[in-house]
Symmetry: D3
Subunit: 336 residues, 6 copies
């Protein structure tokens, strides 16, 4: 079993019932999310000792967050209780031909006030073997760009693996700023999640010819990036076909040592909750990679894990390794 640290904002999510517009909702479901919290929860279900480094205010709503994380075996000792706001987002759950809608209310939150002075590296990195951060964290404030870089540098120095998921959010910052920051961060990264549009919009790559298949184009981008940053050992991403808000198709790609591995195409019908699907995928890859599985197993497992997430209400993928493998092998029988 390995110790894993994630760093990012923990969010309160308030979602309407299916079929209800947010503007008509008179009850909202409460869940907790945030990309890095989602990864910490998912990896804890696979048996890792996970912690999240974050900051939230010291009040009742935070208690719910701590209850949630501890209940799912995430260590909360590194969460600082300070500041005045928790990041919140409203989710209008789509269905059929109406897509989901997210309204962020995450300005001025506690974590955005975190500065490099708040970092006690000894405590934070004690016994950690991997650090996972997504591009949402530096998007939240200038402070957090600095803090992320400090953490990456220090982790590197201590021989801790660094995992980075681009997770670009247009509602939080511009493509230009994000690209500049990501380029600096990439020089520390060992494990990296990014896809075609990230290369084109953020890293400034030319789009490869559409006559090439998607896997061919992706291989080209991944090759190029691996050359530029030879610290990056593995790259991965999914390709999603949106047939409707309820029906998607998903394929996973995993690249290492010049070779791209592709999962089967999964048909996802009757989607319950698509949010966190990317985090479930990243968690699956990290689990497979840290377990030294062969590449095809890694990408099949990670994509299946992501598919399974779509059937669970809430941001986090509350499933065990055994359940993911059952789904991969057996499909959808009642077990009795």
């Amino acid at each position: 079993m390995k110790n894993i640290l994630t760093f990012g904002e923990i969010l309160v999510r308030l979602s309407s019932n299916q079929g209800k517009r947010l503007s008509e909702a008179n009850t909202l479901h409460v869940n907790y999310g945030g990309a890095e919290a989602n990864v910490a929860v998912s990896l804890a279900q696979y048996g890792y000792r996970t912690s999240i480094f974050s900051r939230i205010p010291d009040h009742e709503i935070s208690k719910g967050i701590l209850h949630y994380l501890k209940g799912y075996d995430v260590n909360t000792n590194l969460i600082q209780l300070k500041g005045t706001r928790i990041g919140t987002y409203y989710l209008e759950v789509g269905a059929g031909n109406r897509s989901s809608k997210v309204i962020y209310d995450r300005a001025h939150t506690s974590i955005t006030e975190l500065t490099p002075e708040d970092l006690d590296y000894e405590t934070i990195f004690k016994d950690q073997e991997l650090l996972h951060v997504t591009g949402i964290t530096p998007a939240l404030s200038d402070n957090l760009v600095q803090v992320t870089e400090c953490l990456f540098k220090e982790a590197k120095a201590r021989g801790i693996l660094i995992s980075f998921d681009f997770n670009y959010r247009a509602k939080l910052w511009s493509k230009e700023t994000a690209g500049q920051v990501f380029k600096r961060l990439l020089s520390y990264v060992d494990i990296c999640s990014c896809a075609e549009l990230d290369f084109i919009h953020l890293l400034g790559y030319e789009q490869e010819s559409e006559r090439l298949s998607y896997p061919e184009r992706l291989t080209t981008y991944y090759k190029k990036l691996s050359k530029e940053y030879d610290n990056i050992a593995v790259l991965f991403s999914t390709k999603r076909e949106n047939l409707s808000a309820s029906t998607n198709q998903l394929t996973g790609y995993f690249y290492t040592k010049g070779q791209l591995y592709e999962s089967p195409l999964f048909s996802i019908d009757h989607i319950i909750d698509r949010v966190g699907g990317g985090d479930a995928f990243v968690s699956g890859v990290l689990h497979g990679y840290l377990s030294n599985w062969n590449e095809q197993n890694i990408i099949d497992f990670a994509t299946a894990a992501s598919v399974l997430k779509h059937t669970i209400l809430g941001d986090a993928n509350i499933v065990t390794e055994e359940e993911v493998n059952n789904m991969l092998n057996n499909g959808s029988q009642i077990n009795r």
Copy 2:
């Protein structure tokens, strides 16, 4: 922005949860509907100043109706608070291979007692530019046949556009009576929604040869009717394929000046609520027509609007023009 008047009964709808038979329901969802109210609500979301002329009793349940309509920007000043019954219907929401079931409880309602003496044309038609009524209204009582005719005649005299949706309901009256009334009403109509079965069952047309495609047959009917009633400027309808109560396909048709325009075929999966889909379609056509869009845009928009309605619980299509266009152009992404 234009002023629009609709005339018809406002209904209380009581619906069971999905998967529950009405006979087992111990809670029911309350919504408000009625074809003309639905059109008034939808057009208000597109920015029109809409009013509904109707009658409901003066009690608590009516308050809920007024709250609902005002909250969605429908002017309720023309609603008379009089009489003793509100039209009510029970909806057993279908799913998969079980179709929805409607039980009407709308006899003896307040609106059925409305007579031509109750009509104060000055107040009713003040500043109106279009009047919309469906075939349900005259189906409710003999009084309402008279009232509808009076309103049509007076609207015509004042140069107000008249929109009519056949909306034949077999549970309310016979095909014969409906046909006779509709024929009289049609001589006032500018804008008209009706489909193949209406021509055959209500207007007594011969069915065109099945060797003709549906659009070809429809063109024939529409041509014929346009000749008979040269006051009718545009005709339109949808064709629905019921794969199951959860999965449908929908195509829209719009006819004007001898030419039929056809929308793409929309696949609708994971239907939340099909009721009001026709009213959403009519509202979309009226919006496009009053905005002088080109014909293809009108029918694409109206059909997409109807498709979107299927994803919302309740009779009315609570969506903006921008949301319909997003769906037409982008499909079902999470927007964040």
Copy 3:
């Protein structure tokens, strides 16, 4: 109208909301089930006078069971109120790519303590014309193996038809024991539900060549069994394709006098609740058989009944003969 008796355990079912893992559920839906209760309820909706012979404790939860059965016209006079436990099962309702999960809590229940001494044949069999039992009943305890045999023997002696559904449950007993018991029971049976895997795993048949189609293989098994047990007049089963927990395909097979009849293949989308689908099928076959319908009608009706069950929350198929036929003939229109 005929009198029908079933014998088996009545279960309390506690199920989570769709999208919720059982481990996160803070409310559970209460329904009542048990294969033989489900058949009794379904047949009562078709107009039969049904009774269930069973045993449950004498307390508040049992009151709910009695209310449920009486409310759906099942006679409860043969239910003994004795012992201390009610069989319970937890159902995690699957969706899309996540299958449903059942956790049984049915050891040491009241019915398992029933012995042949508790049987008052005069009362139990008074006016009965058919006895239905599934393989779950003898699986529950050694006592119940004995009791089932005693009932079969006595029913036979009284000229009462005997219907048996294999319903093998791996969580309750081994294939070996089940096979031995079933072989003894089969010598009393007139009407029998079993499928390919039952023949191979329980009766020890060789699997027929995969080059034969499924109907061909099934015909071979059924022929063989009919020869071995010439008391068996009809055999039937369904074949299910699990595309996902929400989307299945179902075909029904009915065999009699050397001939296999096959229903159309039904596509089932947006499944609400798959539990009890088999019991709905058996009930449909029993209704058709007792009504002397022709074979094709029997299998079409029974399979359609099973399909309809998938749209209803709860174990039992609360539909009328008319509703099944409507579905067979008309598909999924709103009826208004």
Copy 4:
């Protein structure tokens, strides 16, 4: 065990959640009620074979009514499925200083069309020993005045006991008409529920001096009525103090052979649902009277039964004799 018949309308009740105005409700609770149905249900819980004679339409909502009554052991064979409307009422559940509000929607219902020609006395009265009706039934239509009289006359002729509860409803008819009808009906009645205001407003009695205590005044009225109608064997009623919608005080009075018996004063706090409290009281009196209990036991039991009703959501008093007695004797312990 005795056979008891009640005659009256069965109502669908739609109630808001506590704290919600009806005009804001987006879900409503479904229960079934009607004074005579409530009495039939309550007496069935005490072990009587009860039936209700009534009429409701033949559709899905009626199925729910039949399920409810059968589930609580009320025989529904005398319910005619005919006509088009079910009586419905909306209940805004009060709390604290806001009283409950009832909106009736019960004009033109099936039962109001019942005429003396629809009465098959042999079937209706077979094996009955007591007939219970309240003043609501003749209030519903002129037809029902006639039908009630016919039933009273015929019951009398057959030696069946007649129980009558005044239950005057100002929303249904005037005091004058009610008084005239009640005076005619009283000449058949053996067992009668009425209180001070009934004497003054309906029977035209002078109010007794306020210097007399309530029990003294009531004794005077009861004496007088007993003289006038010597067929009346027992008279009874409750006196309620409304401290708030959540807190009441209740005392029961039972009069027979010149003597008034008074229950203790019960304090009722945290009222869940007051509707049906009177019917629970009447049921308690009928049970005690038919069981030949002594007078003090009768009135204590009946008042305690009514008190218990206030703790149960829904119109009917779903409690056993044992539970009423436990409450009388032990108050409110957890039993474990």
Copy 5:
């Protein structure tokens, strides 16, 4: 009918179910509040043409706010759609011996960015006859102190009545700052709500001797303030006894021309929602005052209105004048 303007923040309120801690809540009820919105809604139910001047962002959640206000007849034309945050608060609903808890999340909200430059007096004050603001508004930002003063000055100049409710919130600002601001504002005020602690903590008055009764002390404070600010025509407040979170006692006081008027003491049991009780009281006073009722009627009505508010879930007092008077006169009967 009069035109009334209020000015203040509109809040989203998220509240847990009774008996649930906020930290365990998995659903929250959505309501809308804010002291000035509550007053606008309540006065609209009494028949006034009310408007609220405010600012909220332009997104889905704001749509819900607009729907709510329009549905309750509050004009929303003066609400500016600008900025990024809506004020939010979490409410843990207390019960019995556990008090309610409020967590504010209202920093950096849209309204706090409003400046005097944003004020278009012509539009804002068109046809207004009274302006109501509470002390919460200037507490929100320095900008809003300025804006409030500007509005008061301009209203005064236009002869518009000014109503001010102290509504001191310790979570928003210090007593010192509040006191200084309030003193400046008071010189414009005609109608003023404040109580003993306001005088002592905010205005720096000495506490009057405890040997004086509360009404006597209050009279002294009111006299003094009336002398200091002879523009203030009426003063009023309530005194609340907290027996528990579910049981309170409330008395209202109204002072004018040297005379204090006192309502009866109201016992409030089974409190559903205490929030907004003060706003309901102020609304009642304003209604009585603008209607020129006599003083005792004003204070009885206003206090009864406040009491009624405690029975309704949500911040606003959705009751009519008739309902308040019914409660005053009749207590808690079911009306049927």
Copy 6:
């Protein structure tokens, strides 16, 4: 901070909504309880490092239990995942004059199969400073009598404090057997919760004269027991007055060194959930005792803690020390 161990069964509790009989419930609330789990949870909220030693099966429902305990900071490492049944109980939540009802379904559960061989003392007692058990644990099986004695003996040997709560449950065993077992266990106990009826029914004491006040009688019993078992340092209990299921009065008593301390009498109105009130009281006493508070503070705090528990749905007292003290000092204000 101290380390505390409890030993006992963890229960799944399924409770109906207020106002619903268990027999009508179609949803049940899921909570987790068990006296010793409740104490572990409550003490964890006061800051202790608590663990529970128990056994539950290895399946989905147990996952919910572990999530719950970990989320509330209870160490679950000593919980063995073995056996087949979880103890379950159904709770019909009473209200007003109807008391709550508990139905146990806890025979044959995992923990009853625990034997002394399963005890690894080193692991179990590592770092523990206090062991708490209630009389429910030995009531569950003969095995558990033995196991409890072994644990008490071993704890004693290790100098760990032993806390014992009589918690006699008539549904689990006879008074005689319980008395014999408790007498043996008492010789190890340091801290003991028992009340008058325990002395009389279980320990065979004579009832003291009713002319003595309750505190006087209790002092006599406590003195006597302290003499018999001089190992017992403190004794305590509550006295409850059941005015109704919604309204109680509670007084706490704490005895040490010959002296009885009495809390104020607390009025508890609008009870949400009384279950676990005793465990909340014991937790409060343990916290005060381990914190060396003075005796009056201990009993006031513990009784207030118990009172607060009545306002929270679920078995455990999810409150902090600060919240209990706030309630003691301030009553029920909204804090904003």
